[in-house]
Symmetry: C2
Subunit: 287 residues, 2 copies
């Protein structure tokens, strides 16, 4: 296991990254909320492979949690996380406290218009704006870098790409494929909330996405028909709670397409026991 | 006159600033919309005195102009501007085209809550958000720097300070005193819109501010009484058009204070002929 540098302050993290760039190193950033699983590790390994110095940030960002959400319960395991980062070859872990990141409540708000309004925007209205602020801060602290994000949070990835482009940030945003359990469940720190029966039922999200994608593959071009098939699969599942959305949209803009055409993304969000789970899958209709 | 480097692209500007920092230079940024006057030059001279490499940006930012405002008419004089920058010792002028700064319409929106809602926020609702986006971009392009802004745009200065703090930007925002004509009129590119009679009348903004500050100095602590005195001075002026606001607020938060206490700012905005003029003045009530 290699050494890993622990950075607790904005100033230390900035200095560490500047020093790396000053000697010509390309910096890779893997932003996380900790509770690292194989999904995070896939980002970390890619950063280690593609950059010279990898910094993993671990910060459970209160700004992206709504009232009544799972901020307090969110899984934490700092020592294991640091051990994993070191074992995978990260050079540093940036783990600031909340008072270091937010010495005062921010007055600056970010939103992303049509990109953040649907889907998560409807069901977690402050979530993507809160992600935007913390990601903008991490990018400003780390500076010029390649930043690795999972495709599992597809709308977040779309928002972060636009944030970087719109604000001319010196950051190359890299999207990485979702890592799944053998039965297809997307890895998520929130899977820890599921009991065994719920865990067995959770595969229905992926089944719903595959059913929608199969219909498109078979020639279906009506959004409503695809979304009805996705909803039907979800409705068949035992234990599943409210479905926030099950839909197919343009992969880049997240806007509806009718008829379905081009690069599409099927997305689903549903409650299961004490967890709210999300997943998504790509589909292409040649134009 | 020294040489000045003309930078037309985001990539060139970024590379120029990175190269300067790599050799240990402190970069100074003076963001302008061109039509440089002594107010701008005071910022430029201060940057030249306090930093190693001064970059003046010249960009008439369409995003901060509302429909029906003076985007088309806004004074432009690029060759004179570059000559002035060179003469005052700037190392570079960053003058991107609109398509370079906005290859696509930005989806990312910035706002500043209670700080951008009053005053200019009421009368030019998209203005400060548009300033926020272009300043965030300039800061991301130039990178770590000291950035010089005039106090004449007091609310803008407050917003830019919060933007830099809230997003952990590696930028030290420096506010500089307003430069005035001998009669007290604040220098502004928009003064060029005034005919001689309007120009003579324009001093009323400054007189209004001074009247308010004198009342506070004399012991008045009621916001309404100070604002009434300011309005009365404005009402006495020939030619003056609609007054957008004439008020006294907390200097940092721009929130009302009642009774008046601490660091205050008196601010006025009014139409005169084809121009909309703004000005402001500080006052202190020991607490």
């Amino acid at each position: 296991m290699s050494d890993v540098r622990l950075l607790g302050t904005v100033g230390d993290a900035r200095a560490f990254c500047e020093e790396a760039r000053a000697r010509g190193a390309v910096v890779g950033l893997v932003p996380t909320m900790g509770a690292l699983h194989e999904g995070h590790l896939s980002l970390l390994r890619r950063s280690v492979a593609e950059t010279d110095v990898t910094v993993v940030s671990i910060f459970v960002n209160p700004l992206q949690f709504g009232a009544g959400e799972d901020l307090e319960a969110y899984p934490r395991g700092f020592e294991d996380d640091v051990r994993l980062c070191a074992a995978e070859g990260a050079e540093a872990v940036f783990a600031p406290g909340a008072a270091e990141m937010y010495p005062a409540p921010p007055v600056t708000n970010l939103d992303f218009g049509e990109l953040s309004a649907p889907l998560e925007g409807v069901h977690r209205p402050g979530h993507l704006p809160g992600v935007g602020v913390v990601v903008a801060k991490l990018f400003a602290i780390v500076g010029a870098c390649r930043a690795y994000f999972g495709e599992k949070d597809w709308q977040q990835l779309a928002v972060v790409r636009r944030l970087a482009a719109d604000l001319s940030l010196p950051v190359e945003v890299v999207g990485c494929p979702t890592v799944r359990e053998p039965d297809g469940l997307a890895l998520s720190s929130r899977n820890a909330y599921l009991d065994p029966a719920e865990r067995a039922a959770a595969v229905v999200l992926q089944r719903s996405l595959r059913a929608g994608a199969a219909l498109i593959e078979a020639g279906e071009r009506r959004t409503g028909a695809v979304e009805a098939a996705m909803a039907e699969v979800l409705a068949s599942a035992p234990l599943l709670g409210p479905v926030d959305y099950a839909c197919v949209v343009d992969a880049a803009t997240l806007a509806p397409r009718e008829p379905l055409a081009g690069e599409l993304r099927l997305l689903v969000a549903a409650h299961l026991g004490g967890a709210r789970l999300i997943d998504n899958l790509g589909a292409t209709v040649p134009t």
